[in-house]
Subunit: 459 residues, 2 copies
């Protein structure tokens, strides 16, 4: 039986050979430390109490009354009111299919959240339209739908940064399109400039590729770098001039540790550059990966040529075939968009939990960066964002690459990382991606082991 060659050929290193080997080791009783994937709760990060209290009530609505009548209830009136209010708006409860885009009141909340996020931008806001927001099962679903819609033939090209999150290369492959690489400037903190974008575009076009869109991941995966205002501007100007859409993967927009996030929604204001912006409940300080919540927001939708069908209707039809995204993920996006109010009983706890998680992540990133300083030939560029560091390995044994490095690191120390080649990288360079999620005590124990391993390995 012949299978789809695009799927056979597709590569997905984040769940590829190294994590598969790690799973084998665990079955043999070895301890491994999974730094190959941004999965914070698998490494002990606690969920936000408020979110889970609400979700718990949504699954069992009659508990709201029970808790109100229980003088010793551990739940505040605020939580009970919040859940009751949610269920009133979510008329058919958690067990029914919703509108294919997700319930309107959640999309309205997300639109307000986007507006509030962008209110401080120098461009000022252009209100988000709830009808142009689609709730999705994680951000991956949104990304796949957009790519599937844009790729109509082998010569259709999608520009992606190298290194990139392999969802993009895998999906372009699966849809039968052409991957077109551009290279952020590593030594300048992974910044972007128009010359490089234009070079990439022109070379591909000269080879007969019809470029449709440019993917930007900010804060970046795998590099963790945060794009500065100038980089964002260069992407928008480039897209405008070349009539391309922007696919902005902004799932790490709340993983900043002091840097500034500039949204593409604010940056495309005043232009007609089509924008597909993705967000997720899996990342941020919440890290609710398992719940698979997310959204796709679209702006400046172009007319669909020839056949007068509005673009938004085609996106809607695509969403319809999936019926709807899961309601718990939808509820999480609502919670993210609608955190406890400042005057509420829950606010202090919420803020404390959020800040502790972000502080802890930044401390851990700093610990790991310090360890790199003790490793000969290891350099790490860019501001710290997302959940990743992507150090360059300047010294490796002759005729070996980063795959061998990561595999040996796993075998010797249990540390599970992903080789830079799994994300793509500039020819002749070697990297690895490290998700800085393990508890500090674990890092304190394993980082010296890694330093010792490194010294020995590159000798």
């Amino acid at each position: 039986m012949k299978l789809n060659q695009n799927i056979i050929d597709m590569e997905y290193a984040v769940r590829g050979r190294i994590p598969i080997r790690a799973a084998e080791l665990r079955r043999q009783g070895r301890k491994t430390i999974p730094c190959n994937i941004g999965n914070p709760q698998a490494l002990g990060q606690k969920p936000i109490t408020f979110y889970r209290q609400v979700l718990s009530l949504l699954e069992e609505p009659n508990r709201i009354k029970i808790e109100r009548n229980n003088q010793d209830s551990h739940l505040s009136d605020y939580v009970l009111d919040y859940a009751e209010n949610f269920l009133e708006k979510m008329e058919t409860g958690m067990g029914a299919y919703t509108d294919s885009k997700g319930p309107l009141f959640i999309r309205e909340a997300v639109a307000k959240y986007i507006d509030a996020r962008d209110a401080k931008s120098p461009e000022g806001i252009l209100h988000a339209n709830p009808e142009h927001i689609f709730l999705t099962d994680g951000a991956s679903e949104g990304a796949k739908n957009v790519l599937e819609l844009l790729i109509t033939a082998t010569e259709d090209g999608i520009m992606i940064p190298i290194p990139q999150y392999p969802l993009y290369s895998a999906t372009i492959q699966r849809c039968g399109g052409t991957q077109v690489n551009y290279y952020p400037d590593e030594e300048n903190g992974w910044t972007l400039d128009r010359e490089e974008l234009q070079r990439s575009c022109d070379e591909a076009t000269a080879n007969g590729v019809n470029i449709k869109a440019v993917v930007v991941i900010n804060p970046a995966n795998p590099t963790g770098a945060i794009l500065d205002r100038d980089s964002i501007k260069q992407v928008v100007e480039f897209s405008l001039e070349n009539r391309l859409a922007i696919i902005a993967d902004e799932v790490y927009q709340e993983n900043l540790y002091g840097g500034e996030f500039i949204s593409f929604a604010s940056a495309v204001k005043g232009t007609d550059v089509p924008l597909f912006s993705l967000h997720s409940a899996s990342k941020g300080f919440y890290g609710e990966c398992g719940h698979r919540g997310g959204y796709l927001e679209v702006r400046n939708l172009p007319q669909v040529d020839d056949n007068n069908i509005p673009f938004i209707d085609v996106l809607f039809k695509q969403a319809s075939v999936n019926l709807c995204s899961n309601t718990v993920g939808q509820a999480l996006m609502y919670l993210i968009a609608n955190p406890p109010e400042i005057e509420s009983e829950q606010y202090q706890q919420f803020i404390h939990e959020r800040q502790s998680i972000l502080d802890d992540l930044f401390d851990k990133a700093t610990m790991v960066r310090s360890a790199f300083d003790e490793m000969e030939g290891v350099e790490c560029f860019g501001k710290t964002g997302a959940m990743y560091l992507f150090p360059r390995l300047n010294i490796l044994p002759k005729d070996t690459g980063d795959f061998e490095y990561c595999m040996t690191l796993l075998e010797k120390t249990g540390l599970t990382t992903v080789n830079g080649s799994g994300f793509g990288q500039k020819k002749g360079t070697h990297h690895l991606r490290f998700a800085f999620l393990p508890p500090k005590e674990m890092l304190e124990r394993v980082l010296p082991e890694w330093i010792a391993f490194h010294k020995n390995y590159i000798r």
Copy 2:
């Protein structure tokens, strides 16, 4: 901007023009009765108490201890133990990505559930393999993955029954393959026979189509018919002789109302016919559509030709790009596979709720069938299964079809159904699909209106 024509062309009537019009009417303040979709909880069906009590605890694990210390807790020790036990096995909790196939312990539970289901079959069981089970976001995801994997070129054909659930036609269209129709025998209760299957296959083959698989939906959607043992046997023999895979959509396997369900897993025993069997948490007596739980079970996997990659690995890679299905849907599949034990405190309530829901559904189907008896030229064939009736409309005004009938029915009575043409039907016939889910009181009110409408409409 040119979009994927396959997606522009794809049709999905279940969420198509009639439900879109119904939504418009609701916005204008009209009451509508959504019988266009199998979404029981949207029409007042209550969730199974036990399931929701467990899900509620899973979201807020520290409540297990709180409830144990609360003498007035409304939860039984059995529920608390069940949730605690689940969380012990689900080591990383509900907020972490799981294995891409889903956690092993849930797949083991599903394998046992399949074995128990088939234990009574005359063929005897061949144990389900947990490694060949993939937990999915609803059954739709599994169906789409399988079709995407099998369709490699325009001439690749997938046989589907007419009428069919439009997920199949839409996905075949989207993947760029060829839809090949076969026709169950309506007047014989929508049974299948080899001659018709072979005719369909031979005609397509003569036209250059390379048929890869045959889709069977049992109990059927949209007809609600339950396939008898002979029909199942004919499909297996046909597939064996023609070297085809079977895609068995068995999401309604617990919606039987007295009929007998014969699984394809039992029917392919002793053959090498590849089987992809789909199930879902959205249907059955649970009807948890919004939670998007489901699984794909594969049997008799063929070797992948040429390039020695095991088929299962390609399916796994496909699942990996999605990271994992949502954990709450996974937990629901576990609950469905592992109902309360007979000796438990929860058992009586669980059985009572299950039986009430199934009895209520059957009563409602009977009410609607009786109404059909009073409508001239309306005939409904097949045993009642699933959540649907699919009456044939033998009399319609000249030069009109079932679409006009359903649209006018909506405008006049608020009843939202789907026209038979949305599922495909034998040329020259007209039908509609009616999901028999509204509360009895609502049916008692609206069925006479429908009868009156019908009398007037066909005059």
